[in-house]
Amino acid sequence: MTRLTDATTAVSSAVSDGASLYLGGFTHLIPFALGHEIIRQEYEDLHLIRATPDLVYDRMIAAGCAGKVTFSWAGNPGVGSLRAFRRAVEDEVPKPIEIEEYSHYGLVSRLSAGAEDLPFVPLRSYVGTDFPEHTDAIRTVENPYDEGVDEIAVVPSLKPDVAVVRAQRGDESGNAHLWGISGEIVEAAFAADTVIVSVEEVVDEATIRSDPNRTAIPGNVVDYVVEEPYGSHPSYAQGYYDRDNDAYLEWDEVSQTQAGIEAWLDEWVYGVDDHREYLEKLDTDRLLDLQPDTNYATPVDMGAY
């Protein structure tokens, strides 16, 4: 069954005002193209969920799409502050946002619980910290066994309405291979009600089935497939391109003011129809400079039985 569609259709079908939304990837494989499409479609009051909000949520926050952010590390990775996020939290600009805060493992554990339809999962974090005082969902349960601590922290299941994730290659049913750093992408894809998977390349089903251990995201959990080369630009895609670090450094300048961001969005998001047009606006050498050398993994023999 084909689930292949374009970014505009996938986003307009899956997202609605007020939805809880997870955009995948731990600094690697961030779905920037679809994030920009969500901004273009001007959703409001979204509950944005991500371990590392990164530039993609900074833009959505400045664009006024966010009502709430659930996160565990809000910075510009390797660069510094996430300025629009800070302005929203510190000064309610462009509007106030609610925050719900965890450590990485806490947030990842919430998605794991969601993926497995468990009401909660335990973790050995938060002891001696101020998290439980400010994040009501962090609670404790008693250990019913003699071994180990008397009580342990738990976090509840988190099931986003929509997860937008990326993978390097997938077939038109949404069975996707991803490699390199997967972060919490897979847990989120299994936890969410509706899933958009955006891939660098659509490949045939036989390629996917040749290496089933690599199919971390099965079509079973996918609703829409979008093919978007360079769809994670300016973040990375293992084997496809490196991070466009200039874009991350530029953002530190652009995001100094809300007006600066608005001008940037006018040019790079509202001012283009789609990701293709965004890419065409970039200097070619900028993309060429991001290419890694080819470096194939030693294949495995699955055997034909």
């Binding site: 493992y105 050995r124 972060g183």
Partner: protein
């Protein structure tokens, strides 16, 4: 190895914290200064040091400085790459990581660290990035090394928010709470500090260009000093050369300050 006389504060912090690492250690590395310290240790006295990143890369072997902890350079040629859930669950929480490197906006006398917020949580003066994996690193490694510039603002008597637990109510209390290890050393631009039996910070050595008074002045409480407080060994010329020419040739992390 000859001692260098030409080094920055950051270079001293990198070289000194690198000395805390042993070749048999597995270390949870952050990007920036900790990354340079780990790579320096690996190229000098700790060739078998295993670098693990919170993105789930195990025994990374980066061919260049990673731009973030999700950089593909950390995955290519790694020993293993796992989902974050497993990196945090099966490595960190399971006690398989010996050393963690942490920074923070505030550190108190028990080694509790704040990287969440300055001021009131609900109406913050400064909203910081938050924990990331720091809470888990501080809770689950066997030793943590804290790196920070030294100032009264950064070393208050009490942190505004405990993001990463140190010796919460003392060493014994930490163990009773089920937390492993604890802070082993705090390396600043003025001194190297450790923790006594009770879990209270004390100064072990003062850096060559600093002084006992300068250290106390930059600390928000009455700081203890070791009876035999010495001078911090400065970086060697070899270490400085490695940092400048190979590890951070563009001065991304060492050029500024």
């Amino acid at each position: 190895m000859s001692e260098s006389t030409d080094y920055t504060d950051t270079e001293l912090m990198i070289a000194r914290s690198a000395q805390e690492l042993r070749s048999e250690d597995t270390v949870l590395v952050g990007v920036g200064v900790p990354n340079l310290a780990c790579n320096l240790a690996k190229r000098t006295h700790a060739p078998d040091l295993q670098m693990v990143y919170e993105s789930g890369t195990v025994d990374s072997n980066p061919s260049k400085l990673p731009l973030s902890i999700g950089d593909p350079v950390l995955a290519t040629d790694a020993r293993s790459v796992v989902p974050m859930a497993d990196g945090f669950g099966r490595y960190l929480q399971a006690g398989r990581i010996d050393v963690g490197f942490l920074g923070g906006a505030q550190i108190d006398s028990r080694g509790n660290i704040n990287s969440t917020v300055i001021g009131d949580y609900d109406d913050p003066d400064v909203r910081l990035p938050g924990s990331g994996g720091a809470c888990e690193i501080a809770s689950n490694t066997h030793r943590t090394i804290v790196i920070s510039p030294h100032s009264r603002r950064r070393f208050p008597e009490e942190v505004d928010f405990v993001t990463s637990p140190g010796y919460v109510g003392g060493r014994e209390n930490r163990a009773e709470l089920g937390l492993r290890g604890g802070p082993e050393a705090v390396v600043t631009d003025k001194a190297v500090m450790r923790f006594d039996e009770a879990g209270e910070m004390y100064v072990e050595t003062v850096h060559p260009d600093s002084s006992r008074e300068a250290v106390q002045d930059a600390t928000g409480w009455d700081l203890q000093f070791a009876d035999d407080v010495g001078e911090t060994r400065p970086p060697s010329t070899d270490e400085i050369e490695l940092v400048r020419e190979e590890l951070d040739p563009d001065g991304v992390y060492t050029g500024g300050e």
